[in-house]
Amino acid sequence: VTAQAAPSRLPVALRMQILARMLLIQASWNYESMLGTGMGFCMEPALRRLPGGTGGDAYRDALARQSGYFNAHPYMAALAIGALARAELDREPTERIERFRGALCGPLGSIGDRLVWAGWLPFCSLVSLAAFGVGLGAYGVVILFLGLYNAGHIWLRVWGLNVGWERGLGVAAALGAPALRFAPPWIARAAALAGGIALPLSLDRVIGSGRVFLGGMLVAVTIGFVLILQLHGRVEGWRLAMIALAAFVLYSVAT
């Protein structure tokens, strides 16, 4: 089998294969290699284009290299997959690939965490909770949340793979793209606004006949909020919620 040079644009069939595999990138996630085996698994279809094909030394060496330790945000890993696959097919020196691979972990992790976990996800949750608060039904809320969230999710994976492939080892500049630099604070602002709108509306819908206790509830919410902030880093809010609810159940069945 002869070597196939890396095309400047990622072929559609190969792109679809890699994108489909990227949905499984964390399937064997573990504390030792983290995303490593998933990275190798996602990149494998591209590596088949190396000289000698799947039976060749170049393929085996590259697959082993790309299955080693790697840690990043699972969506942002797309950028690394595109860039590293391109570097392997361009037959960049091994040391350079390994150094580059190691250097990508930190930035791809922190950008993804800020952009997705601390921004896009809460924003989509809060918008959907606001929609619930104004009376949207079960199917509507689910479709709104999944549609909104996954529009961003899928875009990020596709963008990452394409940009990574196009730029190869020069992909670091893409990490400074305006969308990545300016999006997190704007998403945070939009989420804060959505949060302000969502809280009273959704609580009003859930509480129903409990509205007679509204005054007392607001005082209790304020006390709970301050308590959770005071305990920040020591006990998480959801654990405190579990303790409070367990105490309430005991009170309710024992009286």
């Binding site: 085996r60 965490d113 302000g196 309430f248």
Partner: protein, 227 residues
């Protein structure tokens, strides 16, 4: 609960539990989705949705960041939505018990995910030689074994949760004395406090976010007051 009714819930719990980390991380596992789907399968979409919204407020605090240990909301939400749908949203205490059960399941589910990650690590260690030789069959086997075991983990967790908490819920509801309105206000208040604290932690560092939050809050309170 009829055992036949549990099968679709167990499968749904398995699939949504898989979404938390392994496949496809499309946030099908968020409580707003999971509990609503659980309610739909159990025959009461509205109860599922109400449960989902309440749990989502609490889940705002827990983000699925890499190696950290966090609650497994996928299976827990399906079970929680179904529990509320089984008992009926209108019964005093049903929501408190369903939310508490969901939190307990999510907590235990978090532990099962840590165990799975250790198992994945052990399997990868045993395959280290093959991986170093660049064996693609070993790589695929590791991925699909992790996927399969994760599905079984989440499905078993959902089954265990429903078998344990559905009868327990009936027993507790029979003994329930607290006022229905107070019970509901209490669980909503707890969820609101956690959500408020989560929002504060997430957005306080962003310039202007506090004012936008307060602006949204004021507009929303006016809308609620006008209802």
């Amino acid at each position: 609960v009829n055992p036949v009714d549990l099968l679709p819930l167990v499968l749904l719990g398995g699939i949504l539990g898989l979404d938390v980390v392994s496949f496809p991380q499309a946030m099908l596992s968020r409580p707003l989705v999971g509990a609503t789907l659980g309610g739909i399968v159990a025959g009461d979409p509205l109860s599922g949705l109400v449960m989902g919204a309440t749990l989502e407020l609490i889940a705002l605090e827990t983000l699925p960041v890499g190696a950290s240990r966090y609650p497994e909301w996928g299976s827990a939400s399906v079970a929680g939505g179904a529990l509320l749908a089984f008992s009926g949203d209108s019964m005093a205490g049903s929501m408190v018990i369903a939310v508490l059960a969901s939190l307990a399941i999510a907590w235990f589910g978090g532990w099962t995910m840590v165990t799975l990650r250790r198992l994945n690590g052990s399997l990868a260690r045993r395959s280290a030689d093959a991986l170093e030789r660049g064996s693609r069959s070993t790589l695929a086997r590791l991925q699909f074994t992790g996927l399969g075991v994760d599905f079984l983990r989440a499905a078993a967790l959902t089954l265990f949760a429903l078998i344990l908490f559905a009868p327990l819920q009936s027993i507790l509801l029979a003994l329930w004395e607290a006022d229905a309105r107070l019970s509901r206000a209490f669980v909503v208040g707890v969820a609101a406090a956690v959500a408020l604290a989560a929002g504060w932690k997430l957005f306080r560092g962003t310039p202007g976010a506090r004012w936008l939050f307060l602006g949204g809050l004021a507009a929303s309170l006016l809308m609620v007051g006008a209802r």
